[in-house]
Structures are given as C-alpha cells and as structure tokens.
Symmetry: C2
Subunit: 629 residues, 2 copies
C-alpha cells in the first residue's frame, strides 16, 4: 500500500511557528531533516494577531534567537512597527513587541527554510506515524508516501479535527478555511495518546478605508526601534502606526443582548478557551463593571488594507459582529473583510511528555506548539526549537537539552506543561516565572548563547561577538566596583540635576549606580570607560549593578531549587514500593514521571510531605524499579 519515500534523521510535521523552528534547529544540529506540511503557501502563517512579542512572549523570541532559532531574525526583517513596552517599569517586565507584515513574514520564513542546508521541505498531509517495536520510525502521508526517520516532531497546531464556529454555524476546517487534519488525530488516539478539546478565537478584520481614524488615538512605533535578534544590524525606520479605540456601554449591550447566540455561551463549543486571550463576550461577562475595553486597530501588512481589530475576538454570529463594530468610535462604518470565528481542535495532554517534548509512551515521537495545549506564536516557537534540538539529539545520539525554570521562559513553559498539564490553552505570562528578574529580555543572550554554541546552532562568528560583549560587561563592572568617586562639585551637580541627594562621602561608582535616579550615562560623564562601550554593554552594566541585590536573592533561590532538581529520580522508579505517600500523589507521580524531586514537588496534588518521603527514599539509595519499563 505505502511506498518508501525516503529516509531522514528527523521529520517535522507542520510548518507553523513550532514547525519552522523545529526543522531549522534540527537541520542546524546536523540532522538530515524533512519538513512536511499541508500547504507550502502558508508557512509560518499567522491565523490571528499580526504581532510578535510582548510581555514574556517577547523574551521567548530572544531566547529562541540565542539558541540559534529564526523567529527573531524573520520578524526583524518584516515588521511594520516596533515598540518597547513598559519602558517606565523595571527590566523584568519590559518587553519588545513588533507588528508583523503577515504576507512578508511568510515569504521570509519560507525562503529561510528553502535555503537551509540539511533541510528538505515538502507539501504533504500526514495521516499516520509509523510505530515499530513501540518506537516511532516515521510518518505516512495521504498519498501513501512512507517517510522514515529516527525521530518525528508533530507540530500541527489547531488543525487536528479543527472545527470552525461562528454563532450557530460549525464546520470541519483548519484555520482560515484550510483543510482540517482529521486522520492524524484519530490515529494518535488509536496509539493511546490522550487528547483534549481546546478552542481559541479571532476577531474580525476590517478594511482600512472604512475606518474613521480621527476618532481614535495614534499608536506610533518607537523612534529608535530595537531588534529581537542579536544578529540584526539594520532596523526598519519606515514604520506604520496602530490606532487605539474603546468599546462602550452600547457595545456591551449588543453583546449582552446576543450572548445566547455566542457559540461559547450556547453550549455549542465543548473545548476550553484561553483565559488570558478571552473573547470580547468573555470579557464583558467576566468584567461586567468595566465600562470599556481597549481595541487596537492593527494593519495586517504594508501592502494590504486589512486591519486586525485586536481585542474583539468573538464567535458571535456575523451580523452581531457588525452591530458590535458599529458602536465603536471610528468603526461605525467599518466594512468587515473577514468575520471573527472560534476554532475547536484536539490537543495532546502534555503531561504525557518528557521535558524534552518526547512522548513517554512512544520513544522517538515529539510534539511541539499549539498541539501541546499552548496558545500563541512565541509559545509555539519556543517549544519548536526545543523539540527540534532534542529530536536531532535522539537521531544523532547527541546530548538532549532541558532548560530549567531559572534559565528561560521556555524552561518555565515546558516544565509547567509536562509537570502540571493545563486545563485551557496555556499562555506565557511574566507571573508564571518565579525567577522573572533573571529571565529578562535584555539578558537572553547571556543566558543561552553558550548553550546554542555548544549545540552547534550558533555560529563561531556570532559566538565571538557574544564573548566579547560578555567580557566588556565584566570588565566594566569590575572597573566600576573599584573606582571611588569623591563628592566633588561636578559630580554633586550631576547628581542634583538627576534629582538625587548630594553625596556625603566618597562612594564606589558601582554603589552610586545602584541609586534609582543614576543612569549609566551620568556616571560615564565623571568616570568614562577607556573606550566607548556599545549600548547593550552599558545597558547590562546598569541593570546588573542596579538590581544586584534582587538578582543575588533570586540566584540563592535558584541554588535551592537546583539542589532539588539535582536529586534525580530514575525513569523506572516503582512508586508503589514507597510507603507513606498519599494515594493522589502516588497516582500523579506515576503519571507525570518527574525526572527530579524538584519536578515532583511542582506537581499539583503532590504535597510537601510526599516530597519529603520521596526525597528520603531516593537519598537512601536503594530504589525499587518497575520491571519491563
């Protein structure tokens, strides 16, 4: 029935945000990689918002970049607007966000993949994975092509048994009227993989010509745009603004009046939606007292008049969407080009995965992206690169990579997913990261470039630049910690001008920099470095010095956490042999199979008492194992 269509090290199924990173990471690690996707015109397609980055998400883009991924490079080449958010707040919550030119993003990403050595890209609809002797050995497409590989990464997003829902209409479909992926979903179930039904939604798009922008507030890009990628040298200065408007009591009345028609409230949708990307009907219901909600009008690209109505995600019937728009200042006459809709789809229950994103029950099979219960391009991209790295590792017998919660948001996300699972589409938030002061967007390279270099995904030339940057930071910090500044007139004047209180006695330059009002630029005037330092070096010196106290404290917590992470639990430990653990905890432990006592302690239902027992049991050294694992 099938025919042998070729042999690879790694096969990546899907060319969304997860698939693209997975394929490139795998190829760059040296694995002969095949990417199979349903439609090559829709590579890295953005079915929802035309933007990349934002709080937590933007940090992930930089982390992916530091590991040798491509999302940052591609968005840097294709944005129509770049903004640094939260500039008034601390460095832990600052975030870069870009508005993307959607068609251009597709073009750039596709070309990047086409030009990647070791990577073959092919259009094809995957229906099955080949499992032999309990291990994944390849995939079969609907044209009966059997492709063989040592590991397979599935990144099929919202396509698995996708159903689009608008009001009381519902039909089988992938995003934006693409084909749904039905057979694959059924097949994964047959393989014993537990699936869960999630949903997400998108707002209408309107024609720019039909918007009265005079009733809205302009949201321009930054004058000096920063970049996501540490490889980017040129910035795009010709930017396009977004516009801000608000819903009001009339909008909310339209929604209230029609709530029973919303697929989400009529019981039509079974899947669970994302709490942190709610539909407008959700927002109106849950925050009933809030008089208005923000609506951002975001162009979908440089060469299109389509405008994305951010904040108005909905599954209300089309005509209600129209009524809703008519109540919003600036959108009174808005012509809908595409109606908003919700989509329901199958996701893999992520506690079935090792932290490498490999399925526990089917060695060689990895999943990444929305299929693992997350939502968002960046979340997909972050998992994609990890799955690609680890699938290549498996295929080539190299070291696999697990990032811990102190190393990266990616680590936080994957640990959350595989340890706790998720009851709704999981989205990254700064609040999910207990060490968020360490996981800053400004230090993603310092945290991860070394790892990328060792993996081979970061090239020598970039690594050399990185090493130089690191040295400059260290040298400058050392210098500042040695220099003593006397309370002389010039310095006092500078301090006063900055709004600080005058020095009473001599002080170390580093200590002065710790004062909130003292910027590195001020210090530089009195004690300049031997030669002018690059802006990112100055930024690091300032942040590291200013937040030294907090950072040290975080690092101590990390140390304690690491100790628990270092207490490894054998994969085949027999939890039934450990006395005294509560029943619920035992079941959860057997299911999640934590790799360390640290991970065990984060499983919900596993209490500190259970952790102590487990710890003692492991430390005592005589661990019972399950036969036949």
């Amino acid at each position: 029935m099938t025919y042998d269509a070729g042999h690879y090290d790694v096969i990546v199924v899907g060319a969304g945000h997860a698939g693209c990173e997975a394929a490139i990471a795998s190829a760059r690690r040296g694995a002969k990689t095949l990417m199979l996707s349903m439609n090559l015109d829709m590579v890295a397609f953005m079915p929802c918002n035309p933007s990349v980055g934002g709080p937590a998400k933007g940090v992930v883009v930089r982390e992916v970049d530091a590991l040798g991924g491509v999302m940052g490079q591609v968005i840097d080449k294709t944005y129509i607007q770049m903004r640094m958010l939260n500039t008034g707040k601390g460095p832990a919550v600052r975030a870069l966000r870009a508005q993307a030119d959607k068609p251009l993003y597709i073009q750039e990403m596709k070309q990047m993949l086409e030009n990647e050595a070791n990577l073959t890209m092919r259009q094809g609809m995957v229906e099955k994975v080949i499992v032999e002797d309990g291990e994944c050995k390849g995939v079969i497409t609907e044209t009966k092509a059997a492709y063989y590989a040592k590991s397979v990464v599935i990144t099929t997003g919202t396509f698995m048994r996708g159903r689009v829902i608008i009001g009381d209409l519902s039909y089988e479909s992938g995003p934006n009227n693409q084909r749904a992926s039905v057979s694959l979903s059924e097949h994964l179930e047959e393989l014993g993989i537990e699936l869960v039904r999630f949903k997400t939604g998108t707002p209408p798009r309107v024609n720019s010509h039909s918007i009265d922008y005079s009733k809205t507030e302009i949201q321009p890009g930054d004058e000096n745009p920063q970049s996501f990628s540490y490889e980017t040298t040129d910035v795009i200065t010709d930017q396009i603004p977004c516009w801000l408007t608000y819903t009001n009591e009339f909008t909310h009345k339209v929604i209230d009046d029609n709530l029973s028609l919303s697929a989400m409230y009529s019981g039509m949708i079974k899947g669970t939606g994302p709490r942190y990307c709610p539909s407008i009907e959700d927002k109106v219901v849950r925050f009933h007292d809030k008089p208005r909600h923000q609506i951002f009008l975001e162009p979908e690209g440089r060469h299109t008049e389509e405008v994305y109505v951010q904040g108005l995600s909905t599954s209300l019937p089309e005509y209600v969407q129209k009524e809703m728009l008519q109540t919003i200042p600036g959108l009174e006459n808005a012509e809908i080009m595409r109606a908003g809709y919700a989509i329901e789809y199958d996701a893999v229950v992520p506690t079935q995965l090792w932290p490498t994103l490999e399925l526990k029950t089917i060695p060689g099979l990895f999943t990444a992206g929305q299929i693992n219960g997350t939502s968002g391009y960046e979340e997909a991209s972050g998992q994609g690169i990890m799955a690609g790295i680890n699938a290549a590792a498996k295929a080539l017998d190299l070291e696999s990579l697990i990032l811990d919660r102190s190393q990266a948001y990616i680590g936080v996300m994957i640990d959350d997913l595989v340890t706790k699972g998720t009851n709704e589409p999981y989205r990254l938030l700064t609040s999910r990261a207990e060490y968020r002061l360490l996981l800053r967007h400004d230090n993603a390279d310092l945290r991860l470039t070394e790892i990328g270099y060792k993996l081979g995904t970061i090239k020598q030339e970039r690594y050399d630049r990185f090493t130089e940057k690191k040295q400059l930071i260290e040298q400058e910090r050392k210098r500042l910690s040695k220099i003593i500044l006397k309370p002389e007139a010039e310095l006092q004047a500078i301090i006063e001008e900055a709004g600080g209180t005058a020095l009473k006695e001599a002080v170390k330059a580093a200590d002065l920099l710790k004062r909130p009002e003292i910027k590195y630029e001020l210090l530089e005037k009195v004690t300049p470095a031997d030669k002018e330092l690059p802006a990112d070096v100055k930024e690091q010196v300032e942040i590291q010095t200013k937040y030294q106290g907090y950072i040290d404290k975080s690092n101590q917590q990390v140390e304690r956490m690491r100790k628990m992470e270092d207490k490894k639990i054998p994969e085949d430990i027999d939890y039934d042999a450990i006395g005294g653990i509560a029943t619920e905890a035992r079941e959860k432990l057997k299911r999640v199979k934590p790799l360390s006592v640290g991970q065990a302690s984060r499983i919900s239902g596993v209490n500190p008492a259970d952790v102590s027992i487990l710890l003692v049991y492991i430390e005592q050294g005589n661990v019972s194992r399950v036969a036949n694992q």
Copy 2:
C-alpha cells in the same frame, strides 16, 4: 434561518482571475459591488504555471487592459521575466509572455481590489444563490448571510466538487489543499443548471538548490522588456532567467511502465482533460515517436526557491514523479517540494449562457472563468471582465456588451463557448480566430479602448493619450501615402543594405514600406516625420501599411459576417413554427437560442441549408413567438 447581510448592485463570487476582473469592471462601471471569496489570502492565486500571456492568451491580457481591466497592470508590476515570443514571425502570432512572481501577484491584485471605490471584499463561502420569481436576487453563504443584489457573477474556478487525484489516491479538495465548494455545485444542479465534469493537472515543483542548471539551457528575459498594460510606464529590468531541458527515452520508459498507475489512464478520472495542456503521460502516449519533450524550469517568484517544472503536468503517483524527474538532465537530484496532481471539478455547460455570460434560464445570474469550461488565467480574466461589465449593465440598466469574433479574442472565446459549447477544458489558440490578423496584440488598444471609454472603465486622461496616438498613426499613414520617393542614390543604398532590390522608378513611401525587408526605421532616414514619433506609433504605421492587403481582405470577410450578425433573431422565436429545418438543427437552435443568424450558422449541427431557411423566414418578417418566454 438566514439574516440580511446587505444590499448591492452586483455580487461576484470568487476572487480568482475571473472574479477579480469581474469585480473591478463592475465597480468601475459604477455598480455597488460585493466580492465574496473563500479565502482572502488566495486572491488571484495561480494554482498552476507561474506565467501570464503567450500566443492568443497574451492578446487577451491586452484586450482586458484596453477595456479597463487589471491583469496587465498587475503582471507588469510583478513579473520576474518578460519575453516577446515569435518575434521572427508575423504580427498576428507575436505574443508577450511574462513569468510571474506568484506571491507578489497576489499581493498586488489584492491591494488593487481593496483600494477600489464601490467595491467591498469579504471572505465567505457561498452555498446558494437566491432565486425569486425565476430571477437571481443574491447569494447565501455558509454563515447564513443573505446578500442581495440585482445580478450575481459566479467565478468559482476548479473548486466546485473539486477532487484531487494522484495515482490511486483521490480526495475532495480545491486546488492546493483548499476547501472544495460542494454545496454550491449541488445547489446549481437543483436549479436545473447542467454541469459537466472536467479535469486539469499540474506538474511537480522542485527546490532550485537541487537543480543542476549546468545541464540546461538558459532562457533569459528580453533586454528591452515590453509591457502588457497601456498604462505601464516603468519596466522591470532586473529579470530572472528560466531554464530549458528535455525529457528523453528513459523518461518515456518510466511513464510507459507506470501508465496503468496514472489516474488518467486507470479510469480513475471521469472528467475530460484539456487537449492543449496535456499531461506528460498524454504527450508520451499520443506522440509516441517524439524522442523528447521540452521542459522549462520556471521560478515561482523572486523570494522563493520553488521551481515549476513546465511540461511535466501529471497525475502519476508521487514516487513515479520522482523517478521521472531523475531521468531528466539537470533534475537527476531534484527535490520535489510539491507533487504534481490532477483535479476534477464541475463546470457549467456553457451553451446555457447568453453571449453576455448570463444564464438563459436564470436572469441575473452570470458565470465566468473556469466554471464555464475554459482553462487558463487569461481565459478566465477575459470572461471575468465581460461578466462584470454585463452584470453591472443589468443592475444599473446600462447597455450590455457583446464583442464579436472580429473585435477580440474574448469575442471568439465567448462565441465559441455559448454557441458550440466544449467537450474539454477550452483554451484559446490563435487557430480559433478566423480574423487573427485583425486580432493582434499590438492593436488591442485600437480595437477596444473606445469601448472601454464609453463603458466608463477607461479614464479620460488615458483616453486622451489614446486618441492622440490614433491621430498620429493616421497622420503618418496619410503622409507616407502622399510622399513620392525618387530612386536617388541615398535611398538605393539604404534599400540595398537592407537586402532589397533597387528601385526602378519613383514610388510612394507607403508602397515601399510594404516590402518585407523595409522597416519603418529605414524609411524614416529618407523621409522623417515632422517630429519624432513614439515607438508604438511607428510600429502601427509599419504593421498597418505592410499588411494592408491582408487586413483589407479580412475586413471584407468581417463585413460579410457582420451582415449575418445583423440579422437578429428574437429571443422568443418559435423554431417549431419554421418548416423545413432539419430535426437536429431545430433542437440545437432551441437549446443555444442564437441571437443572430450569424451565431446560428456557427452551431455545429446547423447546416447551411438550415441557415438559409432561417434567414428567409426572418427576413420575411412575420416571426412566430413562443408564449410565456
């Protein structure tokens, strides 16, 4: 069940090559127009070859342009290569062809539509047309939106009950894994519209990096590229070459050996394929003695590595496609990015249409493009503009437009379709046009701009430029026909240098120009015009003068034809009341309902004897009519 989603003059269903022209023409004629299409990311998508133009087809692009259409303008902005074909041959078969940048073509066309006044563009899947009192009043989408209009144009291409076929695999799908349009097809059948099953196919695409171009011949673009549109002022000089290679006995053996696996030969495909765009298996079977077939390697765009393998359209299984490629010089290691496939779909039997492209049985409902049994982007575009013009005419009570066979290839095509019907996907060929010397690509503007201007689709400024051009041509022709050239030394030298025989006596400049070897440029040296003439004026003067004899003869034939076209037949004539007509002819006449004796004479099965009887009957003036028409 449905809700009122809005009222328009004209609704166009589909945003392919037919739909885009229909919508723009309708809007430019002043009709409030709605365009509904399944997927707004795929506007003017090219599912097959990345090229526009060529023999006959290229002329249609210029005709569309002269009528105020957009295909010419869009391809002029987005080509990667432009070539004038058959430059060595007569002007009737010369043809312009461009290689398109597919994604850029989509972007440009979409933006053009988005910016068109009077035109609303919306994503939506149409399932039904609204028919009330026997007339078409609008459409209903799958979201139960009912849009009302005075006329509706359906341009759904190959989507209606589309089935993709590769080897023994077959699945419901539109082109390139888009959704098929099933409900609409069923609905049209319910309305009593006769459908027919056609098929077409496309070759594999390969990655440019995997081609060994050194084994192929380069096919560069023209050094001085011409443009399709009379509006274009800038040409693209940075062109990308195509490459030529050939099949050989090994390729043909692979095909012969696997013929039984081809969907087309296994009986899997019921639909009829295009004779003039045959699959490679067709070519090998039908021209068994031909040792090789041309294969052009055509880039799909500037920013993609995908290369279209022109000449290798096939529905053989994927692995046979791979084997086939391996036998072709330069493609030995070609990596297939998308496999070739055939697609079967429903088309409307076009004899059910008036020459305005309105359905005879459902006033207000028009169809255009591949749905009418044609194949090709240009054929679609030519019908699209006519349907748009006539749908707007119907809605606004303006004059409708029918082009006759001497006015345009578009006229030939539509007359063929509605008069003769077609047993296979119809493609325009120069041989279909009996007045092809009149239907040149160089005079499309002279033939049609006046009409476009009257329709309101050609703007004043362009019309003024056109009028000036026309005057310059006439003045110059008049001048040349008056000037007498004496056989002086300078002239004789010029003639000799051009390879002609010396003059014996004085001659009119115009007569000298009729000599094949004498170009206008030569004549210009001895008798320059008062002021330098534009190149296109010189070209016209030369062609019109040189081919005067042939053109006059064609025009006489046209006169005769026109006389027959002028003998109008009332729509409700009762053919049963005419004695002496053969039974087959009577049936055909009742079915096709020709608008003139001329059209009647072209119906196959209607013989000259029948035509004479009909003519006499009509001329005698007392025509019986069918009641209740």
